[in-house]
Amino acid sequence: MNRLVIKNGHLLDPSNQLNRQADLYIDNGRVVAIDHSPNGFIADQTIDAKGLTAIPGIVDLCARLREPGLEYKATIQSETIAAAMSGITTLCCPPDTDPVIDEPAVVELIHHKATSAGHSNVVMLGALTTGLKGELLSEMHALQIAGCVGLSNGRQPIPNTLVLKRAYAYAANCGLTVFIEPDDHWLSAGGCAHNGTIASRLGLKGIPVSAETVALARALEIVAETGVKAHFGRLSSAASVAMIRRAKNDGMNITADVSAHQLYLNEHDISSFNSACHVLPPLRTQRDQQALQQGLADGTLDAICSDHQPHDTDAKEAPFASTEPGISALATLLPLATRLADQGIVDICTVIKAITSSPATILGMNTGTLSVGSNADICIFDRDSSWQLDEATIHSSGKNSPFIGWNFQTRVKHTIIGGVIIHSHTE
């Protein structure tokens, strides 16, 4: 039962240095063979992937599903469907839901909703401190038992450095990775744009690069001292890339990611008060943008995430600073990532690794690979199918994307999760 073969496709799996045409055999939710049919394998379903590319299902390190708490913006159901249609088979949800993911009941609620929705897998980061208030340690072990794959305080500050140190130490004690979005709350407070010439001209309150680097430097010191496994997410500046590069060269066991929009947009994109480009951390200079691309190309940055933040229409309908930050980004993660390769900025294997095996490894999951025996989460796409992003092609409930009107070449044709075809694109 449930035997699937993907024939004639171009398999691209950086975790196995696979980059050639081959057939892929799936049985009972797992990859069972590549190239040659196992003995007695009779396919129940066949996908002819001629001219298409098959990669491991995309693993997104940061996506807000808005449930529980902000169901008027989006739900686990709506966003996991949207993710599946975008080739994303695993979503990692940060703890800043309402209620916060700081106790097992919330983990169970989200897990239950995601399972019954039956689309992309959802994994969670537990809160590092109770209520994300930065004061008391959460019950990290209990959260781990409930299924959290890591811990984070989101963008909420932990003002007391001693609390930060003890939180990291305790996380290390549980063997959990801490996911850090470096932000010095005081330097960024009230800001909505990069502290540069564009914000100065527009009269918008700026967020300096130091808001990121000060927090990053502080976290790096504590990570080094406590020995906790750390992942730094959503970096926005050249200075941060340089700091991560230095720390890695010094032998620190850390990883880092960048959101896809930071690789394509910069401060100039807000110059017409375009609230679709209101994001945190803010879009910085063209130099920062290029340094982020370079950091991805040379491996300083391990992963690309969507930093998906779906919003209702009203959230973006106000003067710039009063709008809510964030981009609805599931639909553009793969198209933007592959475009980096199309433009010759980063090679295709590095790009695919950054959205599959690297994030899977960071989350400690047996996915993001086509190895025999691994979960059969697979994304099959056409690299030569021109389409335009509009509200109809954004399947998320949130239509807030600055990429509306952009033309893309990469289109998802099939998404397979646990050996089951969850989505197939039809013209």
């Binding site: 527009l202 017409s272 008060f273």
Partner: protein
């Protein structure tokens, strides 16, 4: 490295179009910011204002240019001078004026802002004069009003205050003549939070001013301000030297709370315009201030009231300049809206 050619232009990405203040004939449709306007357009505003100044000097100060038009003054932020001069300007042009005062707290949400506007649109107003505490608020409104309605920015956050800048240019031209290329203009004070300074800097640049200086403490200097075409000074005595025009900016009391400055006394010592300091400027330098003045904080009383001060002239000139802008915006042929790009 990014192939910029393959991406749409900014105006295609969002619905908010930057250059919405001009219609398809290059005439002013809205007046939101000085940035991006031509030298010719600024000069024609100044010339039109000059013709209204003559009317304002007469005993009967009314012209029928905007008879039958309705103008709504929408002030989401407190104002006395600006609102009053806009009201007077509209009345002297024979327009009907509706004053709507909305406390900022009641309209902190975008929906309420648009609801307010939709209600006023239903009353068939022709023009909104808007002041709002959020930068970009008037662009936001202008992008969303019905096609026949014009928006004039009476100050948005720290972004722009274009009519103030034009009345300042008018005052400079009346006192110093129309060769801005010979002038050294110093703008002094809290540039960081000042929409007036930003609009003045654009206007002075567009009018080809010889030397534009910004004098401010480092904590109140916007990053990268020199890219807007100014020379930055942190030492007042150095910056004021040989200036023809000195524009003082108002210092808000709350700047002390944000740890931007230690005290008013210290600010006055370092950045207050005293009689002594004024001597470092050209002997015939004029002193300006958009008001309201904090005597003894940014300016000495005897300077504010002294012979070089043109502060009250600025208020008077504000009426003529606002008449000019309103008449240019509303006096266009209505047909020019047709076939305009959306």
């Amino acid at each position: 490295m990014v192939n910029k050619a393959s991406r749409p232009t900014d105006s295609m990405i969002g619905r908010d179009n930057w250059n919405i203040q001009l219609d398809c004939n290059g005439k002013l449709k809205h007046f939101l910011t000085i940035e991006g306007l031509s030298t010719e357009l600024l000069i024609s505003i100044l010339d039109t204002a000059e013709s209204f100044a003559n009317i304002n000097a007469k005993s009967v100060k009314k012209v029928p240019l905007l008879r039958g038009k309705t103008i709504a003054n929408l002030f989401f932020e407190a104002s006395t001078r600006t609102r009053n001069t806009f009201e007077l300007a509209a009345k002297r042009l024979s327009a009907d004026v509706l004053n709507v005062n909305i406390s900022a707290s009641a309209t902190s949400k975008g929906e309420t802002l648009m609801d307010t506007l939709h209600n006023l649109q239903a009353m068939q107003c022709d023009m909104f004069v808007v002041r709002h505490n959020a930068s970009g608020a008037t662009h936001y409104i202008a992008n969303r009003v019905a096609p026949g309605i014009s928006v004039i920015n009476a100050g948005d956050g720290s972004h722009a205050h274009p009519t103030q800048a034009m009345l300042d240019m008018f005052t400079i031209r009346r006192n110093k003549g129309d060769n801005f290329g010979q002038l050294r203009v110093a703008i002094v004070g809290d540039v960081l939070h000042s929409r007036v300074a930003r609009s003045q800097i654009h206007a002075l640049n567009i009018l080809n001013t010889g030397n534009i200086r910004v004098i401010a403490p480092r904590t109140l200097t916007p990053i990268g301000i020199e890219d807007m075409g100014v020379e930055v000074f942190h030492d007042f005595d150095e910056g004021i030297r040989d200036a023809d025009v000195i524009i003082m900016l108002r210092l808000q009391k709350e700047r002390m709370q944000g740890a931007l400055l230690p005290s008013e006394q210290e600010y006055y010592q370092m950045y207050g315009l005293s009689r002594e300091r004024l001597r470092l400027a050209k002997p015939d330098a004029i002193v300006m201030h958009p008001g309201p003045i904090n005597r003894g904080v940014e300016i000495e009383s005897s300077v504010a009231d002294g012979p070089q001060s043109v502060i009250l002239d600025q208020v008077t000139n504000g009426i003529s300049v606002r008449m000019a802008v309103m008449s240019m915006v509303l006096g266009r042929e209505p047909e020019t809206d047709k076939g305009e790009k959306s």
